[in-house]
């Protein structure tokens, strides 16, 4: 063994012209020090291959390191480092481009990048970012730990799918005689008296999506027939159009898309219109959801897409099960549930005796007696359904939620707005909600609120402007009849 180590140390001397090996980034700069480390890594690897009967490589390197450290009086030749040199060589030997990048970084940076099992793409990404953004060693470790590369891929994916709603225009859909919503904020709340037509706005968008996904005039049948959908007056006048148009702008380049429909009431002809795209792609259809939790009535006859939450959230368990396969999403969802309902320990999807998947809620107080089915409180169920809705897709969503306040404590409702805002910022969702809750409205800024009212059978919308609250609490301003359009029952 001693001979082998001697041979190893002798060979080591030939690696550099200098009699001293000084592995200091400070003295020689990252590049030349790293080149030498790479060379040493190569030498060790090749030496090990040649001396195949070496036996335990690790203890061989330990002995070799002892002698090398004494010979060269350099702590950079520790046993751990020799092992890292091997790895360094192994990772970059077939990737000269990547090696060049790695040579630019300090040795501690490189060690951080060697620690984890990264594939070439991942390593390339972290190298690029570390160089371009001057990442510290800690930052590299943090990014790897938190799957920075995955987030980067998601970001690319999201950029393609990220959209802004520019405008929604509806004419003659039920009570919506002429509605224009322009430049809405990502979180948009519709408040108004009962039967003022709030839901019709969401339904009109849903109708537009359904008509895009179906052929002919099937969508009319799904939604209850032409006579129930077209505005009563417009139907009687018989010379008008039902129109729904959505203006979107996609991606970084603001690719503008208008898509919509026009129904000629007199000639009973439905025309689908697209501007900026040849046909409606999955980008748009996949992005829309309308939810009215537990409202079975509204879910009747609607198209049910297997991998999306249905309008009444009746397929909650199966969707949540899919989401829970993603550990990161699961963690985030459970954290939110625990914030909003502190007594909940965890939530899971398990099979019941008949093999049907069921939502199970564990409370901190009764960890052995989980709640299922009807035993889960209305509010808990609603919160879980809402979270499922926002986490069900990786792409930005346009989500219309009706009355999310059902069964929720006012304090939770105050927290719901920051939660929804976070969802819009983090995942680029557009979240539109209808509400009757003052606690919910209390947390809004002017631009996030639309007052809906009905005059002579026609729904009207008023987007609030900055200053409209006159320094009052938003809910007080609303209930004091301070906002244009009123939005009050009496």
């Amino acid at each position: 063994m001693k001979e082998i180590i001697k041979e190893f140390v002798d060979g080591f001397k030939g690696l550099t012209k200098d009699p001293d090996i000084e592995l200091s980034d400070k003295t020689f700069g990252n590049h030349s020090s790293n080149m030498l480390r790479f060379k040493i890594g190569e030498y060790i690897t090749k030496f090990v291959i040649d001396k195949i009967k070496l036996g335990d490589i690790d203890s061989f390197l330990k002995d070799a390191s002892n002698i090398l450290t004494k010979t060269y009086q350099d702590s950079g030749l520790s046993h751990t480092n020799l092992n890292y040199f091997r790895k360094f060589y192994k990772k970059y030997r077939n990737q000269p481009d990547l090696a060049e990048k790695a040579f630019k970084l300090s040795w501690s940076h490189n060690v951080a990048l060697l620690k984890d099992k990264l594939n070439d793409d991942e390593r390339n990404y972290y190298l690029n970012r570390a160089i371009a953004d001057n990442w510290s060693v800690k930052e590299i470790e943090y990014q790897i730990k938190n799957d920075g590369f995955d987030s980067f891929l998601n970001e690319i994916e999201q950029t393609n799918y990220r959209f802004n709603i520019k405008a929604l225009r509806i004419k003659n859909y039920k009570s919506l005689v002429n509605i224009n919503i322009t430049e809405p904020t990502r979180l948009l709340v519709f408040a108004g008296a009962n039967a003022s037509g709030k839901s019709n706005i969401f339904e009109a968008v849903e109708f537009l999506m359904h008509s895009a996904m179906t052929t002919g005039t099937i969508a009319f049948n799904i939604f209850g027939g032409v006579e129930n959908i077209v505005n009563f007056k417009a139907l009687a006048e018989n010379n008008q159009f039902l129109e729904i148009f959505l203006d979107l702008s996609f991606g970084k380049n603001n690719h503008n898309i208008r898509f919509g429909l026009k129904y000629d009431i007199k000639n009973k002809k439905l025309i689908r219109e697209f501007t900026g795209i040849k046909e409606l792609d999955e980008k748009i259809v996949d992005s829309f959801s309308r939810i009215f939790i537990d409202n079975i009535k509204r879910a009747e006859n609607k198209l049910k897409i297997y991998n999306k939450l249905w309008i009444d959230a009746s397929n909650l368990s199966s969707i949540l099960k899919t989401i829970f396969k993603d550990e990161k999403k699961k963690e985030e969802i459970i954290e939110w549930i625990q914030i909003l309902i502190p007594d909940i320990e965890k939530v899971s999807i398990e099979k019941d005796l008949s093999g049907k998947e069921e939502l199970i809620v564990y409370e901190k107080s009764y960890p052995d007696k989980p709640f299922t089915g009807n035993l889960i409180s209305e509010g808990t169920h609603n919160i879980i359904a809402l979270l499922t809705l926002f986490y069900q897709a990786d792409k930005p969503q346009f989500v219309c939620v009706e009355e999310p306040e059902t069964g929720l404590n006012p304090a939770i409702l105050s927290e719901l707005i920051p939660f929804l805002r976070e969802m819009t910022e983090k995942y680029n969702h557009h979240i539109w909600i209808t509400t009757h809750s003052a606690s919910l409205v209390a947390e809004l800024s002017e631009k996030e609120l639309i007052i809906v009212n009905k005059k002579n059978g026609a729904t009207q919308t008023n987007q609030c402007k900055e200053g409209d609250f006159e320094k009052m609490r938003p809910d007080e301003a609303w209930l004091s009849n301070m906002l244009k359009g009123g939005g009050l029952p009496w």
């Binding site: 006159e470 320094k471 009052m472 007080e476 004091s480 009849n481 244009k484 009123g486 009496w490």
Partner: protein, 196 residues
């Protein structure tokens, strides 16, 4: 035409003032322009005080010429008995507070703000003989007129009371028997005379 805004305490006052009957009375008999959007609801006396400046500013943005604030006097005896009684609940304190706001030139320069104290608007319902509600005494002094009206109509809902009476109630008739109603009516007449 004079444009007038109102600040009221509760929903039933709001329903009466915005009713077609009252709005037509203002428009055609007094020459006053108003409307539902010009009636603000404070929703409680404490809120009236807290939000008074905001409510007034909101009406000023609508370019009203005059603002009427209707403050309920309520039943002081009852309030004293109530342990929760505190100065912000006291109508006199509120009136003097909002008078301070009104008269403070640095705060609200608007001089055309009138404060009308009523027992409760329900006292005006008593005072309107056509409504045929039985009571003893002066409607402006009688305790809890809303209870009497509620008993008469056999309902606990103030909104229901207001909705039932909004087609029949007449401020002119109420002014015959109620001093506060008369003050309100006279002030409304006065501002139209001033402007014409």
């Amino acid at each position: 035409m004079v444009k007038v805004g109102f600040i009221v305490e509760g929903t039933s006052d709001f329903i009466i003032l915005k009713s077609d009957k009252f709005q037509n009375f203002l428009k055609y008999e007094l020459g006053i322009e108003s409307g539902e959007s010009l009636i603000k609801i404070a929703r409680s006396r404490a809120n009236l005080k807290k939000n008074f400046v905001s409510l007034v500013r909101n009406l000023q943005n609508e370019n009203v010429d005059y603002i009427f604030t209707l403050v309920d006097q309520d039943d002081k005896e009852e309030q004293r008995k109530n342990k929760g009684y505190r100065p912000p609940d006291c109508p006199i304190a509120i009136v003097s507070e909002i008078k301070k706001f009104r008269d403070n030139k640095n705060y609200i320069f608007e001089k055309n703000i009138f404060i009308i104290m009523t027992r409760e608007m329900e006292a005006w319902f008593l005072a309107d003989e056509n409504l045929g509600i039985n009571y003893d005494g002066d409607p402006d002094i009688i305790f809890n007129p809303s209870d009497i009206v509620a008993n008469h109509l056999k309902t606990k809902s103030h909104v229901k009371i207001a909705n039932r009476l909004k087609y029949e109630f007449s401020l002119t008739r109420a002014a015959e028997n109620s001093k506060s109603a008369k003050r309100f009516l006279n002030k409304l007449k006065q501002i139209t005379n001033q402007s014409s």
